[in-house]
């Protein structure tokens, strides 16, 4: 969802993700499904460059991507806010402690018109957990900044052997809309 003056090229946010993952040699995409992430999940399934599948839990997905990463295949975990909330122990003890650059992309629920109180509450835990682990995290709100942030941060994650999280704001994706 565009918010201001468009750059010359106007791409969908999920197209930017696919292109940037490819450019940075990140072929493994493991996800726990989310409605907002649906176009991205569809796009990676339709592109033979990617190895992509659903895991049963976000913890499992982090384990798979961590293992692949140590064996030389870069990967990313897709999830929503409530899924990230299940991860504090695993993130602290695997990618952070072992310095494995697991990438995470989190579709943000719980703000800007959330209709589910549980989602609104769990949203408040996400950034404090990331910040308390000193984990690199960026909230993406503008499509014109997205490629730059994602591309540079992926390069940084692998160069510094640090996991990184990208929080996709409803300002970028449109989010999930409550139909009264």
């Amino acid at each position: 969802m565009a918010t201001s003056a468009e750059p010359a090229e106007s791409q969908a946010w999920h197209t930017i993700v696919c292109d940037t993952l490819k450019r940075n040699s990140v072929p493994l995409v493991v996800y726990v499904p989310d409605n907002v992430l649906k176009p991205l999940i569809k796009a990676v399934h339709e592109d033979s460059y990617f190895t992509t599948f659903a895991a049963t839990r976000e913890e499992e997905a982090v384990g798979i991507v961590a293992g692949a990463c140590m064996a030389g295949m870069r990967g990313i975990v897709l999830m929503q806010t409530s899924g990230f909330a299940t991860l504090a122990n695993v993130v602290a003890s695997l990618p952070v402690a072992f310095q494995i650059p697991v990438l995470m992309m989190i579709s943000e629920r719980g703000i800007f018109g959330e209709f589910n109180l549980g989602q609104a509450m769990v949203n408040r835990t996400m950034r404090p957990v990331l910040d308390s682990l000193a984990m690199v995290n960026h909230t993406i709100t503008r499509i014109d900044e997205f490629e730059f942030i994602l591309d540079r941060s992926i390069k940084q994650a692998f160069a510094t052997r640090a996991p990184a999280a990208f929080i996709l704001s409803p300002l970028l994706t449109g989010g999930k809309v409550f139909k009264a």
Partner: protein
């Protein structure tokens, strides 16, 4: 092997360290992921190899980590060692492995029917949960109990040669792990990556 009528009730009760040593003695370049606690303590004590990864924390993730390694390096066999309590915590991973069918993944489950390292509280396998039946139900057809050490050797030899995924379950005693893994995660990662050829820079 999948037709053998061996179950947790009639399989011989073996020892994790003894089995781990037998297994390690037959390995070449296979990756091995040791699950939390005694499982990786015994892997460490059986003799360190650069292709070993010792998981500290993240209980239940030895199989997912092994799956990731297997996907990244399809020409290398990967063995994930896991305990009964750990597998019960992340049991959905069996369905994910069955969905992806990695030919090069071997899962070994050590079942002592307890959360041994926290004080030997009983797990659900002590009350009849059968991890091989659960694995088959998840779609892992090549899952079986080893009746004794000789059968474990045979099953492992086959799993290292023929297409997987494989799941080998063993009933083990309540002996604690032998020794303790050197707990330096960054060094563990570095050695493992070099052991797998994923990192080649000189230091």
């Amino acid at each position: 092997m999948s037709t053998q009528p061996i179950g947790p009730g009639n399989a011989q009760v073996m020892n994790r360290f003894a089995l781990t040593k037998r297994m390690v003695a037959t390995l070449k370049d296979e990756a091995v992921i040791g699950g939390i606690g005694n499982t990786n303590f015994d892997l460490w004590s059986a003799g360190h190899r650069p292709e070993n990864f010792y998981m500290l924390g993240s209980m239940g993730l030895a199989i997912p980590i092994g799956l990731g390694v297997a996907l990244a390096q399809p020409k290398r066999r990967c063995i994930a060692l896991e305990g009964d309590g750990s597998l019960l915590m992340q049991v959905g991973c069996l369905a994910t492995v069955a969905m992806l069918k990695p030919k090069n993944l071997v899962i070994v489950v050590f079942d002592n029917q307890s959360y041994q390292i926290t004080g030997s509280q009983p797990t659900a396998t002590a009350s009849g949960a059968d991890l091989v039946t659960m694995a088959r139900g998840a779609g892992l057809a090549q899952s079986a109990w080893a009746s004794d050490e000789d059968m474990f050797d045979e099953m492992m030899a086959r799993a290292l040669k023929e297409d997987g995924p494989w799941l080998i379950a063993v009933r083990i005693d309540d002996k604690p792990g032998v020794g303790a893994t050197e707990r330096d995660p960054v060094i563990i990662t570095d050695r493992f990556m070099r052991g797998l050829g994923a990192k080649t820079s000189s230091i």
